[in-house]
């Protein structure tokens, strides 16, 4: 079976901690911000715990399909941590850790994975109060979130608000025209938009070197006059620091930034995928040593930010938290089929009313096609 060979990405990127968790140079100030450090550490562990749990649920058929970010948690966690309350974030399915950093509710996310309609989730697991950072729904169609994010940032720029909008794109998705159209708008309108390319080397079965002949993904921003940066995506401090700088510049009217965070998809693309078919699994060993959680953990232990019992304590507590969230999600009833009609237009229409009646009739065992006058089934 022929497989794609991988090309290891160049490592001449910005890095704060080496793979063993040792500083490579002077430490940025976040290294002294213990609260943020612990919160990032916790978030990455939480993401992994959630992924592990939902994977088991998927195997049991309780959720239909999940995309894990195992080994990539530092990218979304470190970048989202650089936001401030009031900011906006436009994630894809691969940025669970960004949501969790800002305390997005796991029970709601799990209910979504279980296939509940958003209306059902809102009814049974209502959001109380606004989250400090606003997250859009997770985008499934690729690359379209970036233009929406740039539009969001344009509004802040036009209104003189100092909010920042963050969005994410995979390595593969940079091949979509959408990505370039969005970055071009960001450049022209000096939008306070920070875009992170989570380069995990693979787009399902297609390796990064087959996506583009560009030297790096970061350089794609040259096409749009947007400043760019390339960081070790498995080093949460490097991701944080580069994003913080970009966010500050954006907040101060300095316009957009594009950041490539180099990481690796340690696992299958999603649970419908079988990666051993198309890639050499040995390559994973190389990356195993670069795990972002281990790296931060070593650093925190070394600095005494956490103590020796903490790693297991955190993990244990998070497993429980996840389990509780699952329990709450399981309480959510199966969505009523009629929710499929909700929230299309704000008003109703003849055809919506009529089709709701048809569906109701069908569910009641009646003939939904009994209306021959257009005056309804009753």
């Amino acid at each position: 079976m022929p497989q794609w060979t991988e090309r290891r990405p160049a490592e001449d990127f910005y890095r704060v901690l080496d793979p063993d968790g040792d500083p490579v140079d002077d430490l940025p100030s976040v290294a002294d911000d213990e609260e943020t450090l612990r919160r990032m550490y916790r978030t990455m562990l939480q993401t992994r715990a959630l992924d592990e749990k939902t994977l088991r649920m998927q195997r049991r058929g309780e959720v239909s399909i999940i995309a894990r970010s195992t080994g990539e948690e530092a990218v979304a966690c470190g970048s989202a941590a650089a936001l401030a309350p009031g900011d906006w974030c436009f994630p894809t399915y691969r940025q669970t850790s960004a949501l969790l950093y800002w305390n997005a509710r796991m029970d709601r996310a799990i209910a979504g994975l279980m296939g509940a309609e958003p209306e059902t989730i809102n009814e049974h697991l209502p959001l109380e109060g606004e989250p400090e950072v606003t997250f859009t729904p997770v985008y499934v169609p690729l690359a379209v979130n970036v233009a929406n994010a740039v539009g969001s940032a344009m509004v802040d720029r036009f209104q003189g608000d100092d909010r920042v909008t963050l969005s994410y794109i995979g390595d593969g998705s940079t091949s979509e025209g959408d990505f370039h159209e969005a970055l071009n708008f960001a450049g022209v309108f000096e939008a306070p938009a920070v875009t992170i390319c989570q380069n995990n080397q693979w787009a399902i079965s297609v390796p990064a070197h087959r996506q583009t002949a560009a030297e790096t993904f970061a350089r794609k921003a040259e096409a749009h006059g947007v400043p760019h940066e390339r960081v070790d995506g498995n080093d949460v401090l490097a991701v944080y620091e580069a994003t913080r700088e970009a966010v500050e510049r954006a907040r101060d009217g300095g316009g957009p930034t594009f950041i490539e965070a180099v990481t690796y998809r340690m696992v299958e693309h999603n649970t419908a995928d079988e990666e051993s078919v198309y890639r050499d699994e040995d390559e994973r060993d190389y990356w195993e040593d670069k795990d972002p959680v281990d790296r931060l953990e070593a650093f925190l232990l070394d600095r005494g930010v956490i103590d020796d019992e903490d790693p297991e304590r955190y993990r244990e507590a998070l497993r429980e938290e996840v389990q509780e969230a699952v329990d709450r999600a399981r309480e959510v009833p199966i969505s009523d089929p009629e929710t499929m009609f909700d929230n299309h237009l704000q008003a109703t229409s003849w055809s919506e009313r009529h089709q709701r009646q048809e569906l109701a009739a069908e569910r009641a065992g009646a003939n939904p096609f009994a209306d021959f006058t257009g005056e309804g089934l009753e």
Binding site: M154, N343, H344, A347, T373
Partner: protein, 336 residues
């Protein structure tokens, strides 16, 4: 159901054509609501290739009348983002035939965000597109592909047919919180004037308009074709009812059925290609819910199933009063 006879007797207001009505309505809506922003290429100093945004860049500045890079998909995508953040956005696509590169943002975000967010996010935007033929221009400048929009849930599709209608419908569409398309029949942009009131008014987005009442046959039409329906109605030996659909999505099915149940005969007149043009849906609805009332098959006087042709041939493609009249006569003369 609102009923305007044509001509609309005693209507007060300034005489203006459709493109002026668009311009004045945009100005009025921008004055009354600071969150209204226009977006598109060539809408700034030049005021649009049809001058629909003339003077607005000067009056409201480049952050409310935003000349963009040349990307329809970029326009739609950023407009959705702006709308999600509370702006009431009015993007312009220069010609409907250049909407296709924006289909991704249309389907994935504009039509979907409200539903996808369970109602949490609103996307109040009105995409203006000059559309339809008759101007003898080059490729893709004459399209009527409203089918693509009407088949997609989550958006409104509105088409005015007169200056008065333009103002009321455009104001209503902009103020409505749903994402919408406002299709401007460019052939009649300057094709005649009528008095348009200075004061603000809106027209319901849920109701078709009876252009005239009649007893024998209904012509369903919209946009630039309404005038041909009127000419044909005057010419035939039958009492013709004309329904200007004006909101193509969602359709005012009540009015559609009400009319044909009275007349028993129907013709649909539209510029779009016939196969799966909106005429197909109207015919199917009538068949489903008013078959008993039909005295004749429903005929579709439409464009043909071809790419919009070059300008030497355009007139033969486009439906006109003659084609409408033939269709009316065909259904009038039909005997079971």
């Amino acid at each position: 159901m609102s009923l305007h006879a044509e001509p609309r007797d005693g209507q007060e207001g300034r005489e203006m054509n459709i493109v002026t009505a668009v311009n004045e309505t945009l100005r009025q809506e921008m004055q009354r609501d600071d969150s209204v922003r226009l977006l598109g290429y060539d809408i700034g100093p030049i005021g649009g290739v049809y001058r629909a945004t003339e003077g607005l860049h000067e009056e409201f500045g480049e952050e409310r009348v935003i000349d963009t890079p040349l990307s329809e998909n970029g326009i739609l995508g950023t407009a959705v983002g702006m709308a999600m953040r509370g702006c009431r956005v009015v993007p312009e696509i220069q010609f409907m035939g250049f909407f296709y590169p924006a289909f991704g943002q249309f389907m994935y975000t504009m039509a979907k965000m409200h539903e996808r967010s369970g109602g949490a996010l609103e996307v109040p935007m009105t995409v203006r597109m000059p559309y339809s033929g008759g101007i003898k221009s080059s490729e893709y400048h004459s399209e009527s592909t409203e089918t693509f929009l009407v088949h997609t849930p989550g958006v409104r599709v509105v088409v005015p047919s007169t200056p008065y209608e333009t103002k009321g419908l455009l104001a209503a569409t902009i103020r409505d919180d749903d994402p919408a398309f406002f299709l401007e029949p460019k052939k009649i942009y300057r094709g005649g004037t009528e008095p348009v009131p200075d004061e603000e008014y809106t027209i319901s987005l849920d109701e078709a308009r009876y252009v005239r009442h009649g007893e024998d046959v209904t012509v369903y039409t919209w946009g630039a074709m309404v005038r041909h329906a009127v000419t044909a109605a005057d010419a035939v030996d039958a009492d013709v009812e004309i329904v200007d659909l004006r909101t193509l999505s969602p359709l005012d099915v009540e009015t559609i059925l009400e009319s044909v149940k009275k007349t028993g005969r129907a013709v649909v007149l539209h510029e779009a290609r016939r196969t799966l043009g909106l005429g197909a849906e109207i015919s199917a609805l009538i068949n489903e819910y008013a078959l008993d009332h039909l005295h004749a098959p429903i005929k579709r006087a439409t464009g043909y199933d071809v790419h919009f042709p070059g300008h030497q041939v355009e007139d033969a493609y486009l439906p006109d009063a003659d084609r409408a009249q033939h269709a009316i006569e065909a259904v009038m003369n039909y005997e079971f």
